[in-house]
Structure formats: C-alpha cells, structure tokens
Amino acid sequence: MWGDAWRRLRKNRVAMLCLALVALFTLMAVYGELVYRYHDFKDITPSYQKTHLDLAFQPPSSKHWMGTDGLGRDVMSRLVQGVTIAYKVGIITSLIAIPIGVFFGCIAGFFGGKVDDFVVWLYSTFASMPGLLFILAIAMVVGKGLLGIYLGIGLTTWVGICRLVRGEVIKHKSQTYVQAAQALGLGSGRIIFKHILPNISHVIIVTFTLRFPAAVGTEVFLSFLGIGVQDQPSWGLMINSARMRLWQGMWWEMTFVTLAVFLLVLAFNLLGDALRDALDPRLND
C-alpha cells in the first residue's frame, strides 16, 4: 500500500512542492530549536531577543533580509523561532490528541456495546463544547503559556480522530482477517494494536497532516490574544506587535510573518489532501 501511495504521490507535482516546503519548514524548526537550546544551556540572551533600539524599524536590507522590528530585533531570526514554536504546538498537541482519539476509537469500535456507548457519550459531550471558547477556557484555567495551549488544543481535537478511527475499526472488525484472528483465539488488545491499527494507520497519518495546520492556526490566534506564548517569538505575538506598526507604515514584519503562516498552513493542507488521495484511491474519480 505504501509503495503504491508513494508512486501516486510522486506524480502529483503540487504535492511534491508542498513536501519540499514542509521539509524546509521542518529544517527551520530543528535549527530554531537548536539555537534556543544552545542559548538556554549557556544561559545567554539569544540575538533574536536582544533589543537594539538604535536599529529599530529598519526596512529589509542586505543585513536584515526581513528588516527589524520595533525593538531592533531581526525579523527573520524571530520568524525562524516562530517556526519552532508552531511545530512544537503542532506536534505536542498531536501527541496528546491522537493517542486519546485512537485509543477510544479503537476500543469503542472493537468492543461495541457499553464501551461504545460510553465513548460515544464522551465524544459527543466534548463535541458539544464551543470550539475556540472551550480552548480558551482550558488555557485560562491551566494558566497562560504554552502548556495551556497544548492542553487546550490537545484535549479538544481528539474527538474528530476518535470518530474516524471508530468508524474504520467497525469496518475492519467484520473483515475476515480479524475474524480469523479471533477464531485463532488472539487477545483483543493484540488484534486491535497488531492487526487492525496498522491497517488504519493511513487514516491517522492523513489526520495528523490535516490537523497540524489547524493547531498552528489556533496557536497564532491564542498567542495573538496574549493567552499563549509569553516571552518567545511566536508568530501570534509578532502579528500582534506588527499590527500596531503597520499603521505607521512598517509593512515588513506583518508581511513576512503572515506569509510564513500562510505557506506553512497551505503546504500542510495541500499535502494532507494529496496524501489522502494517494492513500485512499477509492476516493479518486
């Protein structure tokens, strides 16, 4: 299945472009994290945090490709740090949401009956919560900072995954290979995780790719409101400060940050679509 999918994906030029873009962003994220760790370890203020008031508001030049912000900090290096934060949010919220969703989806689909009733009740309760407001409320209760964002997004977005996985597991449960495994007397856990899960892993991968940009978008949003990241250069914070400057004619910070957000989200969205088409050829025309 994977070989086939890869062959189909390779033919899709847009998807390959997006994949390249995603790879580029990933590199930036890793680089940004290394820089952050290095400075954290040495306990020195990294250059992207140092203020140079005399250098404030410089338009893009050969020295500062994307100009400087109101405190004279290089926009480009802050942008790269923003990629790191976006990735952290995308990945950690997935690490919270996907296991919860997959676990509940699997047990509900596989065991049915009371277990299923309980899981359906649980996710319909969560699904009833008003999206953004609920995330904000969780972030508020947990406290400002990245942890609030991780939990807020992670604990609200498992529902969709759970629903998808449950449906898939129900579909697979009636297939012969599962029934054969049951007839052989394999334990339920083994059947679910060794036999069914690998067969639905493509659903999980596509979900990951499509929820990643959504999580990034939400983070930008929360940080913009001042509820998320506090003292690191998150894209939301950058947009917030750049918004004020825009009115004074400093267009560069705003332009480059929004462009970065747009490209990252677009690349993941298109890649997710292409992956779904490649992995699930039934959906193709």
């Binding site: 009740w121 319909s124 309760t125 407001l133 904000l136 409320a137 930008v220 947009i239 957000v261 298109l270």
Partner: protein, 424 residues
C-alpha cells in the same frame, strides 16, 4: 413526528449531563483555586472566602462532611512554619519540625471572623498543655485531637504556664449535609437559571448576556445567511463545471482562502479597506455601516472550507446511480443538478448549517473584539483576559447547550427532509 421529537429529546439528556459535568470538572476540579485565578493573589483572604461562598466553592467537590476554609491553612510544621512564623510568642524549630507556644501566649490564627452559625473543627497534633477554641489540651506525649467549636466562639490557641508544642494543624468547616457539595450547588444554580456574577464588570452574568445577544446576532446572522447562499451556489458551480478550469480554480481558491489565518483577514481588512481607503469605519458599533466590514470578513473567512465541504457533498451525489437514471430519461444537466442532486444534497447541507447555529449566539470572538462590537464574543474575550470565571463558564455552557439543541433540530430537519428516515 411528535413521538420522534420526544424520543430524540430524551436521548439528549446524557449529553446535557455530560456537558454540565465537563464544565464542572474543567472549572471546579481542574481549575483548583478559582478565586485566586479570578482575583489574583493580592486580595484579602476574607474577600476570597466571600468569592468562594457566593459560588459554593467552599464546599466539598462531590461529597464530604468536611471542607477547607481559607481562615486557616493546613500546616505541617516539619515542612516549615508558613504564616505561623509571624507570631511573637511562638517559637519555630525547623530541626524538630514543631512550633512551640510559649507560656502565656494568646494566638488567634484565624484570618477573619468565622460565620457564627457554622461549626468548625481543629485537628491538632500536640504535646504539652494549653487551650484551643476554649477546650483544654493536655498530654505528655504526642497526641492528635479533634476539637469541635461553633463559629461564634473564640477559635484560637492560648497557653497558661506550660508551653504547648504543635506538630501539625488542620482547620475544617463541618458540612452538615454531606451531599451539599459544589456539584449540587452548581446544578441548583443552573436549575434556577442563575449564571453567576461577573467579578470584573460587577454585574450579574445574565444581564451581560442579555446585553450582548443583539449586537452578536446583528453580526452573525448576516454572516450566516450570506455565507450559506454564497458557498452553496459556488459549490453548485463547481459541480456543474466539474473538472474544468472553473472548478479547479474554485477549489484552489478555497484552499488558499482556508490557509489564510483569520487574523490576517482582520488586520488586512482593517488596514487596507478601512484605514487606507476609508471604505468602511475602522472601529465601533453605531450604524449598519459599521457592520459591513466585519460581515464581509466573516463571510470570506468561512467560505473556503464551506465551498470544499459542499462541493464534496454535491460530487458524492453526482456519482449515485439515480443521476444516471435521470440522464437516461433525458433530463438536462442543470435540472439534474438543481432538482435531483440538490434535493439530496440538502440533507447533509442542512446538518452542517443547523450545527452552526450555536455560533450565531456565541458571536465571533475575534471580529467583535477587533471591531468593537459589544456582543458576546467581545464579552468572552474580555472575560478570558480578565479571568472572569463566571462569564466564561456561562458562555461555554450556553454554547454547548445550544449545540445539543441544534443537534436535535438537525435530526428533526433530517427526518423532515429525507423520506427514508423512519420516525420510529
């Protein structure tokens, strides 16, 4: 039909209970010290206690006979002396982990006057002799004793001519009815329709909600209807011109629209359309003109994903066998699309539309706060920023309830639109 509605209403109950429990768990259990979140750490214990009292937060969570009081925190002196360090007649020894009250000491550790009608209980581990809340303590060995007293009585320590060593103290209020818990209080409050009291605005939440509904609706209702009409028509265009340039263009366009962050729409709209070109007012809520820009932004920001969603539905329908039958009868393509396909596609479309109704009420958080529209979204953002617990909780709860109700409505519409749904 009536029976069906009744049955579906009944099926809503578990979800409603779930929603109430979930908000309770989020705010009361996970939230921990709500008073501190709402009012900060700098206010007096007395006002924190009042905050708790008003919201039933001084009760046990689910069930219990004792509850903590802010009048005196638990202290185990092997961990430190805490607030007890300040008393002049008390000597703290970190090695022994004890606090020794010198002879003739008179210490009242209660931070504020207790309510006279309540009963309280000290649990104290001590050695030596003295009195606590009017009762004599005396023991040569370490001993733990519970001392019950009325809130109207004196509750402090005193010693005569022998010192009293204390290892740990706990102070609890006695809960007369063990079921009188935070959960019960919350449920009762909801049953009364009481939404709580906004600490930052000094007004009942219900009043704030009432004031905010109209501005919110004036923004969201146009967004809702224009959005549906636009996205359904555009998705029909996609379906009609499937696999041509038009379709491909619209699909690409929707993905691009979807990938632009909401913030960017707002910032760009405000900057270019309102500030630079002066087409619209930038900020405020005075006349219809002030709503135009936020409505446009609201519609555009939702357009991308809606077009894609409706297009998928339409195309799914176009693969069905009945479409081939219609073509084989000689029905024209527009008629197949607008009569046969659309009527079938209406079913999932209705679902999607009705489910969006709660959004009408909650308003649009960002649009409202950016354009200064005094609706519920604006209220919500401000409440979050000022940690106004009651407001946030009320908004979350109402949003969730509306969602549950719209689910019910969806099912009813479904049953009305689709002859296949059996009303049994």
């Amino acid at each position: 039909m009536f029976k069906y509605i009744l049955k579906r209403t009944f099926q809503m109950v578990p979800t409603v209970i779930g929603v109430i429990l979930l908000t309770f768990v989020l705010f009361n259990v996970v939230g921990g010290d709500l008073a501190a979140i709402a009012m900060g750490k700098k206010v007096s214990l007395q006002s924190l206690e009042t905050f708790d009292e008003q919201r039933g937060l001084n009760k046990p969570l689910f069930f219990g006979t004792r509850s903590k009081s802010r009048a005196c925190e638990d202290q185990d002196f092997s961990d430190g002396a805490g607030r007890w360090r300040g008393y002049s007649n008390a000597v703290y020894s970190a090695e022994a982990g004890t606090l020794t009250l010198q002879p003739g000491a008179e210490i009242d550790p209660l931070a504020f006057e207790l309510k006279a009608e309540d009963e309280f209980v000290w649990t104290v581990t001590y050695k030596g002799a003295g009195t606590l809340a009017g009762q004599a303590l005396s023991s040569n060995d370490w001993k733990t004793e519970k001392i019950l007293f009325q809130g109207s009585e004196e509750g402090g320590f005193s010693t005569a001519d022998v010192p009293l060593e204390i290892r740990s103290v706990k102070f609890r209020r006695v809960v007369k009815n063990p079921f009188d818990s935070q959960l019960l209080f919350y449920v009762k409050q909801l049953a009364r329709g009481d939404m709580g009291y906004s600490e930052s605005q000094r007004q009942p939440v219900a009043q704030l909600l009432k004031d905010g509904v109209l501005p919110s609706l004036s923004l969201t209702v146009p967004i809702f209807f224009i959005g549906i009409i636009l996205s359904v028509s555009l998705s029909l265009v996609c379906a009609f011109f499937r696999d041509t340039f038009v379709d491909r263009f619209l699909v690409t366009f929707s993905v691009a629209l979807m990938s632009i962050n909401y913030l960017v729409y707002i910032v760009a709209g405000q900057y270019f359309l309102a500030y630079k070109n002066g087409l619209f007012p930038v900020w405020g809520y005075e006349s219809m003109r002030y709503l135009a820009l936020p409505v446009i932004i609201g519609v555009i920001s939702g357009l991308g994903s809606n077009i894609r969603f409706y297009r998928t539905i339409m195309l799914d329908e176009m693969y069905k066998d009945y479409v081939r039958t219609a073509f084989a009868k000689g029905v024209s393509k527009p008629r197949v699309l607008f009569v046969h396909v659309l009527k079938n596609a209406m079913i999932p479309i209705i679902t999607n539309v009705v489910i969006a109704i709660p959004f009408l009420y909650t308003g649009s958080l960002l649009l409202e706060s950016f354009f200064g529209i005094p609706g519920l979204g604006y209220l919500g953002i401000n409440a979050i920023l000022s940690s106004d617990i009651d407001v946030v909780r009320a908004l979350v709860l109402i949003g969730a309830m509306l969602f549950v109700v719209s689910n019910l409505l969806t099912d009813i519409c479904y049953a009305a639109a689709d002859p296949r749904v059996k009303l049994k």
